[in-house]
């Protein structure tokens, strides 16, 4: 499998890379779309950087099979802002507004895979905000969690934790 991928990558890099931009790093999404980024961007992604370091910088095309071409631009955008030191509350608010719940989760997993600490913390906060003051049912739906409690068990647990269920917001319309 690994060989397959790398041979595939080689063919991609031959066709896509022109010699003058050899300094750029090519990130290949799971659906085989190539994104060219500056090496400084790659530095933000620990997973990518360690890949480059391991090969002494000879390989500049990195396959990212777990990340789709839909999510990767968001990740790159965030890293670009991060390098420029332009991560402000306003930027983050705008950034999040574009994302639905599923996309947040996908990006979160991408950030985890790429090991981008700042993005990971930020998205954790976003997810936490989105389930704040929500009912148990909402949280289950949000995370796709199957309820495996018997009604009796659940009632008992809720009774134990009853004091925490004051001030729960009414459920939003499910975004998905």
């Amino acid at each position: 499998m690994a060989e397959e991928v790398s041979s595939q990558m080689n063919s991609l890099s031959i066709s896509e890379t022109n010699p003058s931009s050899s300094a750029t790093i090519s990130l290949v999404s799971g659906d085989d779309i190539v994104f060219k980024v500056e090496p400084t961007i790659a530095k933000e992604m620990e997973t990518v950087q360690s890949f480059i370091d391991e090969t002494d910088g000879k390989i500049t095309t990195i396959p990212l099979p777990n990340i789709s071409s839909h999510d990767l631009p968001y990740v790159i955008e965030y890293c670009e802002k991060s390098i420029a030191g332009k991560i402000t509350k306003e930027f983050e608010a705008e950034f999040v507004k574009k994302l639905n719940n599923e996309e947040v989760k996908e990006l979160f997993l991408a950030a985890n895979y790429l090991n981008i600490k700042k993005l990971l913390d930020f998205l954790s906060q976003v997810i936490a905000d989105r389930i704040a003051n929500k009912s148990v049912e909402y949280v289950r739906r949000y995370f796709g969690i199957e309820n495996d409690f018997t009604p009796e068990e659940e009632a008992k647990l809720r009774e134990e934790l009853a004091w925490t269920f004051t001030g729960v917001d009414p459920d939003d319309e499910d975004e998905n």
Binding site: M1, V5, G30, D31, D32, P65, N66, S68, E102, K105, E106, F108, L109, N112, L120, D121, S124, Q125, I127, A128, D129, I131, A132, N133, K134, S135, V136, V139, R140, F143, G144, I145, E146, N147, D148, F149, E154, L157, R158, L161, T164, F165, G167, V168, N176
Partner: protein, 470 residues
């Protein structure tokens, strides 16, 4: 591989259960207790994750306070993190400045200002006061005297030790069970009354903070010391404990010599109360904000060349008042402002010539530091001859960014004048805000500027001198 991707994207939703556990914990660490409880009810798997002390509750503690204190060191690392979470959740609000208040506080000679800060495995409080000049040399140094240390014993009991005289080094890693070290220290309860008020009361049962013995005859009676230590950290004094104790005492060993001896001893203890309850009020709005750039606690060299603390407060109708935090306390009790202005609108650069010369003709009151030349922006000898305009631009830090007019004052800087009728001109003055965000103020009648410096930076007292009271 491409297939895998398609499969996962075709499924309608990514389940939280599919996330790696460290990733799950990362998300959960941003939740509050309420959300954690909701989350615990979603399924058995997460119910058990949420009751996992070492994983979930550690992560929660670490997220909130990991940058401020060593989470694993509290209670010698032997207490449940959930206990730690609940404790720190309550204690966190202590961090910052508090002022002693309430009946009788004016007659207490010790400094009224107390500063709470994070320690490695405890929260400690210090009495803080300006260092008073002993000779000619006066500096911006702040005296920091140990006052209170709050921690958790390895049994999970809350141990608050008060250092009434500021003698002990509370920064020593206290073994909370070691009686020897506690001779000078008084166990106390910190009783919270809302968010901005607490009472410090002697914990009369906790004096000999010996470890709890749960063996032999000690358990019924002699263990009273142990019982009292942690109980009611946040609750009113141990009246209930006293009752329980008396009940136990009468039941378990009626008429026994030992019991009577103990009871006498206990009465003796009550009589030898070493600490009268003191009330403390939080100084909220302790630091500047964007809208209130002058707000907070500051220190400055005042007209008599001694260091003083000032508190600048904004009122709801746009006025600003600056008061000197007084030690000795009678100054504080009168509580008249040093300066006051009803209009907080700054005058922006460029300034009219008369404003430039008003500022430029002044000296900055500052510590006399004969051996520290680079600190000297305005050598005293140059006062007379200095070129006004040059002075205006002399120091990078003291380049004036904005000017605010002061239109009223009560003269506390020179107490003798306080009784004299205020003439309008004496009340007139300026606040000069510098480029670094600090500011100085002065009155038209004077020829000097009192510069305000920060007392705290990054949660620590700066220029601190750790002094024990002699």
């Amino acid at each position: 591989m491409a297939n895998n991707l398609n499969e996962s994207s075709s499924s309608s939703s990514i389940s939280f259960s599919d996330f790696p556990e460290d990733v799950q914990l990362c998300i959960l660490s941003f939740l509050g207790p309420t959300e954690i409880a909701s989350f615990a009810c979603t399924s058995k798997q997460f119910g058990s994750l949420c009751s996992n002390d070492g994983k979930l509750w550690f992560t929660l503690c670490d997220r909130r306070w990991g940058s401020k204190t060593l989470i694993t060191k509290w209670g010698e690392g032997k207490i449940p993190y959930k206990v730690l979470y609940n404790t720190l959740h309550e204690w966190e609000n202590l961090i910052g400045f508090w002022r002693r208040s309430g009946p009788g506080s004016a007659v207490i000679s010790s400094p009224s200002l107390v500063f709470f800060e994070w320690g490695t495995s405890f929260i400690s409080a210090f009495r803080v006061s300006p260092v008073q000049s002993q000779s000619e040399i006066c500096d911006y140094q702040v005296k920091k005297v140990p006052f209170l240390k709050m921690g958790i014993s390895e049994e999970g009991q809350i141990v608050n030790l008060l250092d009434p005289d500021g003698r002990a080094d509370l920064n020593l890693d206290l073994n909370f069970g070691d009686g020897n070290q506690l001779n000078d220290l008084i166990p106390v309860n910190v009783c919270f009354m809302g968010k901005t008020h607490f009472v410090l009361e002697e914990n009369v049962f906790g004096r000999n903070s010996s470890p709890v013995h749960v063996s032999g005859e000690d358990c019924g009676f002699g263990g009273e010391d142990g019982i009292g230590i942690g109980v009611g950290s946040g609750s009113p004094p141990d009246l209930l404990m006293l009752e329980i104790y008396q009940h136990l005492a009468n039941r378990t060993s009626p008429g026994s010599d030992r019991s009577r001896r103990q009871r006498r001893k206990e009465k003796g203890r009550m009589a030898r109360r070493r600490w009268e309850p003191q009330h403390f009020v939080k100084i909220v709005n302790c630091s500047p904000t964007e809208l209130r750039p002058l707000q907070g606690l500051w220190k400055g060299i005042c007209a008599d060349m001694s260091l003083a603390f000032y508190l600048v407060a904004y009122d709801d109708i746009g006025g600003i008042a600056c008061r000197r935090l007084g030690d000795p306390p009678e100054r504080f009790s009168s509580y008249a402002p040093v300066f006051w202005t009803s209009n907080a609108t700054f005058m922006e650069s460029p300034f009219p010539l008369e404003e430039e010369s008003l500022y430029g003709s002044r000296i900055h009151l500052q510590p006399v530091q004969p051996h520290n030349e680079n600190h000297e922006q305005f050598p005293m000898s140059d006062i007379e001859g200095a070129n006004h305009i040059q002075q205006f631009h002399l120091s990078e830090n003291e380049v004036v960014n904005r000017i605010l007019l002061i239109n009223a004052s009560y003269d506390l800087v020179i107490p003798d004048l306080a009784a004299a009728p205020i003439n309008p001109r004496s009340a007139e003055g300026r606040i000069w805000q510098y480029r670094d965000g600090t500011f100085g103020f002065g009155f038209v009648r004077d020829n000097f500027v009192i510069d305000m410096k920060n007392i705290v930076c990054d949660g620590c007292i700066i220029d601190a001198v750790n002094l024990s009271v002699d």
